[in-house]
Symmetry: C2
Subunit: 206 residues, 2 copies
């Protein structure tokens, strides 16, 4: 059996991000990544199935964090409150120490259509899982899909903001703010549609 | 110059959909599509750059319809009202006569990851254009992105419902209802958050 390399996965990830960002994703091989931190190709493939996996390694953990927040919400929480709980939990997966490497990772992904696609697909599949979890809580299908997709939208916008160069707030704070802005937009529209006096009587589609 | 074939594009589209649905997208060639309606490969390529284009031919028109609704909304409309106007306009691109072929088209797309991806990408790029149009109306970037992405989400859910076998309502009606449900979900959450008169605000899906 190959010997254990302490922190090998983390070292490989950091090296990969830097090489991808400077040389380009396509132009960097797994062997080069391994060699740049004094490890072998074999060690690389003990941790990652290919160089793409280095970028999407945390994906499962992120999806689970989002879902844990959803399933952990109080039983009487409204669908949007459940999603808010999912967002808080998912945000805890991105503490401020990760901001720099998340930024670097995003710059690599933004430059490569196939990686962008995989990233989009990831968020879409988290939304699907969240919708399923909401249905299990008794939410009807349309409401579950709407709430879950809104959660994915809010996460995407908040994440983009979080990795901006001048941003200092935590991802959880930004996500809460963006979700609040979505709710405000909806209220604003409802108010304009109906007029204040009818705000209690009509709640369906316009 | 090749002679003009009346209705050739429409005949090719219908034939392509049927061949894709019965034989599979990958297994069908442009030549076979053309021959099945007594046309030549050359005629096919006068109308479409490849067999994928047969499926995505209306894409530009759909995107323009959505944007026309956005730019045509009254100047004082709230972002969500602007999106509602875009949804109404986009829905007019799918009259009930198109339901059967839209259903067939979707069954082809659902079976092919690359086509699904192109479809997702299409909706994402419409959302991007709508967000840009909202910013031009003076809406700030986060609100514009949220409203536009919500519009894309609502359209996707409404369209999926519209092509169900047992569905009779128009796409415009379904889209208005789904948007209304999103607004109700947001109000419900806002009410619970603020503790303001839950009996008024909790009326959405449960």
């Amino acid at each position: 059996m190959a010997r254990w390399e302490p922190g090998a996965a983390e070292r490989l990830q950091q090296a990969a991000l830097e090489l991808f960002a400077t040389r380009g994703f396509e132009q960097t091989t797994a062997t080069e990544i391994a060699r740049s931190v004094g490890l072998t190709e074999r060690t690389f493939f003990r941790h990652f199935s290919d160089k793409r996996e280095v970028l999407f390694h945390g994906q499962q953990v992120f999806a689970r964090a989002f879902l844990d927040g959803v399933t952990g919400a109080p039983p009487d929480a409204s669908p949007m409150e459940v999603v808010a709980s999912g967002l808080r939990s998912a945000s805890s997966f991105f503490p401020d120490e990760r901001r720099a490497s998340s930024r670097l990772r995003q710059s690599v992904i933004d430059q490569n259509p196939a990686l962008r696609e995989r990233e989009r697909h990831k968020l879409a599949s988290v939304a699907k899982d969240v919708a399923a979890a909401l249905r299990e809580r008794g939410v009807d299908q349309t409401a579950a899909t709407l709430a879950a997709e809104s959660g994915a939208t809010v996460f995407g916008i908040a994440f983009t903001q979080w990795i901006r160069e001048d941003e200092q707030r935590s991802l959880a704070d930004i996500a809460a703010e963006v979700l609040g802005e979505l709710l405000a937009l909806a209220r604003q529209s409802a108010g304009a549609e109906k007029g204040a006096s009818r705000s209690c009587s009509r709640t369906g589609a316009g």
